[in-house]
Symmetry: C2
Subunit: 184 residues, 2 copies
DNA sequence: AGTTACAAACAGACCGGTTGGTATAGTGGA
DNA sequence: TCCACTATACCAACCGGTCTGTTTGTAACT
């Protein structure tokens, strides 16, 4: 794998785990086993450029992943259940939810950097878009589907935060069970 | 107001806005117009001790606030609507949601400091408890009420993150409208 | 093939500034 | 006088970023 992709991949999981400010360049360099010169060769504008690159890659990964899951199920209800199931497994095996959440980045950077905030907003929008399309296919009206999609995004994101805080997958399990009530 | 309370008050809003790592001691000192010696007199164990004190104070403030709102309304549905309404006003006037959210702290510290994580978990628990009691008063079964309370906490917390990301109060408005569907 | 030229890629010393934290001295009121 | 409180000087460690190299791959010319 080329160095640039390696940096993005490793930095992404680090950012997701510890947030943007929480990860130092030195930590990234050590994890990648590269030098500072190398990093600044690939990302001349430094840390923030790297973060945005990470968010863009993350967007592709996440949307592709969710898309795949959603294609496997007939209805939004089933698909959502399947997706959350995967989140839970991910959380229980790895202890953190590295796959889908980037809440730490959002909450610390939203008010500090507009480019980063926009990248995050775009990512949420993409995810919501997948929900929306499936809901429309389910037969919901445009407006209802749009509202439900927002609810789903918020609930799942919040649920992951609760899991991280309580160190249990219980919240996500409850959400998985009760989310179908929402899709009506 | 005594210095200690002043420090807690100012540091709390700073932490909420920028997260724990995002706020330096120097920034707190300048905002409070105090010296480092003063801070370390009141919080000998430094920054983390201050954060936990902030979280505890925040817990009192938030729970008292929500409690009051919930007492003004008959049902959980109405109370929730009222509460979110207040969040929206807060967001639209101040640009940030300083009152009720501490997501930045959760997401960056959950994996780094257990004491902080526990303090956050306790806070969520308290909020959920208020929802739970109201739901029980509404006549829900213990189990159903408990599940709905989790959902509410997750959805509202996630909704605030969406608002911060998109710089709109739209997500919370949608949630306010659709949350009643959840309480059933 | 052998040599030269050049740029991409990488390495690491170094920079000013800031971090959280400590130690000591000073101050003002009981 | 005493002591809670505050001010300030100082510290090592670390921050992100810049800098000057050195290595490496490869294309061009003889």
């Amino acid at each position: 794998m080329d160095t640039k992709s390696l940096i993005i991949e490793i930095a992404t999981t680090l950012f997701q785990k510890k947030g943007y400010i929480g990860v130092g360049l030195s930590e990234i360099l050590k994890a990648c086993n590269i030098s500072k010169g190398s990093l600044y060769h690939h990302f001349p504008n430094g840390k923030e450029e790297l973060l945005i690159a990470c968010l863009q890659t993350l967007e592709e990964t996440i949307t592709k992943d969710i898309d795949q899951i959603f294609k496997r199920y007939q209805t939004t209800k089933e698909a959502t259940k399947g997706m959350i199931e995967k989140l839970i497994v991910n959380f229980e095996t790895e202890g953190t939810i590295t796959g889908y959440t980037f809440s730490s980045i959002v909450s610390e950077m939203a008010s500090l950097s507009n480019p980063v905030r926009n990248a995050c907003a775009h990512l949420y929008q993409k995810i919501q878009g997948i929900y929306l399309n499936k809901l429309l296919a389910d037969g919901f009206s445009k407006e209802t589907a749009s509202s439900i999609a927002v609810m789903m995004t918020a609930t799942i994101e919040g649920g992951m935060m609760l899991c991280l805080t309580q160190k249990t997958s219980e919240p996500l399990k409850i959400i998985s069970e009760r989310l179908p009530n929402l899709i009506n």
